[in-house]
Symmetry: C2
DNA sequence: TAGATTGTTAATCGATTAACAATC
DNA sequence: TAGATTGTTAATCGATTAACAATC
C-alpha cells in the first residue's frame, strides 16, 4: 500500500460522520455528487480520497451508505476496541471520560489518573480516578493502548517519557507543548489555545479589511 | 494585502508558542535555522511564512525574539481583548472557562450558559453560570464577540442560528456537527472525536504494516 | 570588510480539480 | 439498451523547498 497523505486521512472522520447521519436517516445510497454538496467539497475529491483505499462504489449507482460507513470505520480502526486511560482528571479529562459516544465507538476508558488527593478514589460516569503513582503499573498490567494527556505542559513531557518506557505507543496530547518523543510513537495533538488563536486571527483580519 | 493561505495561518500559533518559550528563557535573537531545528520544520518555510506579513528579521542577525513574538501576537489579534461566553457548562465548557492562560492572552470569559437548573447560579473560577434563556439578551447587551459552543450537536445549530441573529460573528464550535451558517460568520471547529479517529487510523495502519 | 542570515525568486513537489473512458 | 456514476488519468493549482542575491 502506498503512503496515504495526511490531508486524506484527516478527511476520513468527516466522511464517516456524514455517512453516519445518512445511515441514521435510513438513506441507502449516495453519489459522490450528492455527498459533495452536503459537505461542501468537490465530488472529485471524494472519489479520489476513497480510491486511495479501493473501489467502494459502483458505476451508475454510487456508494452504498452502510457499506461505505463500515469500510471507513475499519480504516479508522473503529472495528477493534481501544483501551485508553486519561492522565489529568481535571475538567478536560473528565469531559473526555464522560463523552458517551466514545464508548459506542469501541473506546474503553478504564481509568483516570491525578495527583490531587481530593479526586483520587472518586468516580466519573464509568471509570475510577486513581493516584498517578499507580499509572505506570496500571498501563503495563492492563495493556493500555492510548494515553490521553490532559494536564499542564510541565509534567506532561516527563510523564509521557515514562509511559513510553512502559510500552505506550500512542498519545492523545492536550498539553500545550510538543512532546519530544523518540522512536515509533504516535502523537495526536489537540492544542486548544492554538485553535482559538486561529479564530482571533480571522477576526482581526476581517476587522483590518473592513477598516481599509 | 494578498490572501494568506490557511496553512500559513495555522502555523502562526505554533511559532508564537516557541517564541514565547525563547522569550521566557531570556533569549534575545533567533535565526530561522535555529528555530527550524527546534520546531522540526525547514528554515525556508519559516522565512516564507513570515514574509507573508513583512520583513520581521534582519540580514546577518536573524530575528529579535521579543519583537517577532509581539508582531505575531498582533497578527493573531492578541493585542486586543476578546469578550467570549460559553454555551454549555458541562466539563468541557468549564475546562475552557478555568484555563487561566486565556485570561493572560486577553480573552474575557464573562459568563457560561446552561439549561441545567443545578448548574445555574453556580460559579466557575471567574464567571457565573446563567440560564440559557438569558443568553440572547446577554450577548446583545454585553457586546460579546466570540461564543464557544460546548454542548450536544442537536441544540448547537439552532442556538448558533439565533446567536447570529443577535449579531454574533464568531463561533468556537466543539459540537460534533458542522454549523450550517450563512453569511460572513467565522467558525473555528474543534472536533475531538475526529482527532481521536485520526489517532486510531494511525494505530491500525501501523498494525497492518507490521503484519505484512 | 567578511561573515551571516534574511528576503525573494525559481524549482520542485504534492494535492486538488477536471475530464472522460469504463462499466454497472 | 440508455443513463448514471464511478475509477482513474491528465491538467491545474498551490504549497514547500532550494538557491542565491541583497544587505546588515
Amino acid at each position: 500500500m502506498n503512503k496515504i497523505s495526511k490531508a486524506v486521512i484527516s478527511r476520513l472522520p468527516r466522511y464517516y460522520r456524514y455517512l453516519d447521519e445518512l445511515r441514521t436517516q435510513k438513506i441507502e445510497r449516495v453519489s459522490s455528487k450528492e455527498l459533495s454538496e452536503m459537505m461542501n467539497v468537490t465530488a472529485s475529491q471524494i472519489r479520489q480520497d476513497l480510491n486511495n483505499f479501493g473501489g467502494f462504489g459502483q458505476q451508475g449507482y454510487g456508494y452504498n451508505v452502510q457499506y461505505l460507513y463500515d469500510e471507513i470505520g475499519k480504516l479508522l480502526g473503529l472495528d477493534t476496541p481501544h483501551k485508553m486511560v486519561i492522565v489529568g482528571a481535571g475538567n478536560l479529562g473528565q469531559a473526555i471520560a464522560n463523552y458517551g459516544n466514545f464508548k459506542n465507538r469501541g473506546f474503553q476508558i478504564t481509568a483516570l489518573f491525578d495527583k490531587n488527593p481530593n479526586l483520587i478514589g472518586t468516580k466519573t460516569s464509568d471509570a475510577e480516578i486513581m493516584d498517578i503513582e499507580c499509572l505506570y503499573d496500571y498501563v503495563k498490567e492492563n495493556q493500555v493502548e492510548i494515553v490521553a494527556l490532559t494536564l499542564p505542559k510541565e509534567p506532561a513531557r516527563e510523564i509521557a517519557e515514562k509511559l513510553v518506557a512502559c510500552g505506550i505507543k500512542a498519545f492523545w496530547n492536550f498539553a500545550h507543548t510538543d512532546l519530544k518523543i523518540s522512536g515509533d510513537i504516535i502523537v495526536e495533538n489537540v492544542h486548544l489555545s492554538e485553535s482559538l488563536m486561529k479564530l482571533t486571527y480571522r477576526i482581526s483580519e476581517k476587522r483590518n479589511h473592513n477598516e481599509e
